[in-house]
Symmetry: C2
Subunit: 270 residues, 2 copies
């Protein structure tokens, strides 16, 4: 993917899944304005854990959104992936030089990547041929986005100056620490974890049951090369991810099963 020419100020599309009014996207946009023209197109409200959803069964609307009395960006009543599609096709009408999604309040590592709306916005950018980054701050406490926003700007500058591999996005997770406490940067792989789901069962005023999803995360792979462990060890984690979901190892194994003989359609049987 060829990025901006060195002369022109780059156009940077910003989205998220916490909603356009979330502090993370505000800090991110403010930092990125130092290096480019920033266009914000984000969901009108929180759309966490929406995965790579798109909206096909109802129409979308685009509204101007102000922050501190000034135009900040466009709010969409859809998912992060909808926002990116609409931004590129209807707001910008050409591909921006870069897309940055975030800064998410909470980590997007290991199994959580597949549920993440933050990552999904960056995936949609990559599908459209835009160099794309997803950024998350790994805390659920009251967040301080300052270092995460600064790092996002530094990484964005770096990416804008070079070519990056096709069909890939960078999933960045930043520990919730002061800059001087960060141990460094690691290029990682997606960790392995699983949710031990539980449902909190309650009863409504009419005595009917309802279920709240909750649970705790089990870490399955404790290698230092993973996103999850790097964060525990106070490193910024950068994971290149793609959307070819083929399990090539399993593919080789399944070919040996000779399924095409075992389950042959009637007509083909000799």
């Amino acid at each position: 993917m060829k990025n901006q020419s060195k002369k022109k100020r780059p156009t940077i599309l910003v989205s998220n899944d916490d909603g356009i009014d979330a502090p993370g996207i505000y800090y991110l946009a403010q930092e990125l304005k130092k290096i480019g023209d920033v266009i914000v197109v984000a969901p009108d409200e929180q759309r966490s854990a929406v995965g790579h959803a798109i909206t096909m069964n109802y129409p979308l609307r685009l509204k101007k959104f102000c922050k501190n009395g000034k135009f900040f960006g466009y709010a969409v009543d859809g998912t992060p992936a909808d926002c990116v599609k609409l931004a590129v096709r209807k707001v910008l009408k050409i591909n921006p030089d870069l897309l940055v999604s975030g800064i998410n309040h909470g980590s997007n590592t290991a199994i959580n990547i597949i549920y993440s709306g933050t990552v999904s916005a960056a995936t949609e950018g990559t599908i459209l041929g835009i160099p794309s980054i997803a950024v998350s701050l790994t805390t659920y406490d009251k967040p301080d986005f300052r270092y995460a926003a600064k790092f996002s700007r530094q990484l964005a500058s770096y990416i804008l100056k070079r070519s990056i591999p096709k069909d890939m996005l960078l999933n960045v997770n930043i520990p919730h620490l002061k800059e001087k406490e960060i141990q460094g940067i690691r290029i990682t792989r997606q960790g392995k974890s699983r949710w031990d789901d539980t449902f909190d069962v309650r009863r409504d005023p009419n005595n009917k049951e309802y279920f709240w999803l909750t649970g705790k995360l089990d870490v399955v792979d404790s290698s230092e090369e993973t996103d999850l462990i790097s964060i525990f060890q106070k490193y910024v984690s950068i994971t290149p991810i793609h959307f070819d979901l083929t399990d090539y190892k399993a593919l080789a194994e399944i070919k040996t099963w000779k399924l095409e003989k075992a389950l042959q359609p009637k007509s083909r049987k000799k």
Copy 2:
């Protein structure tokens, strides 16, 4: 993954994203009842293109659903992934021997896999350690689910009798043809395609704009080894997919960038 003992009748969990009232899940359940005890837990209405969304911001409800005057299964006001979690944790309370998601009305091949709720139900099953299959019938016309349902039952029988690779699901696409017209079965990889999105712009009675997502699919990779092309060539396509999204090729390349030096946090600089 160890499957059922040979003595016991297997328990098969069935879900989908077209909704519990869709004909595809009915044909599927009827066929699978020939080989096991079937439990249906599916969305109460269509949830297509929801990706791997889960519901955390509102509670879920589970309702008994009847079809032709008989109990058919449980309807959930959530996503396919929600249905699988709720089925395993609250309805069955143990893992079933197999999960089959479908039969989707429409294909789930190439880039569409990442948007698919049908695949997402099977992904959630795999995460929970259940051998899982997603099945789609590749037509948007009035569907005839008979061969697809029969094939699903044959494949389910086959899978129940053996171990399958861990952390993997089978994504099955079946051409909309009579059995005798099917050319055979192919073990495939996920194809490459991209949506050339367009938005149909309309105005509501108050003269406000709204946008309908539409578009056409461009096929990027025309190899016979892909799901998409196999379907065009009248083969049943079976693709093993996983959820380690790490792009290992890009990972090796990005490590050569020495990002950890270029973007070193302040404290680490010497």
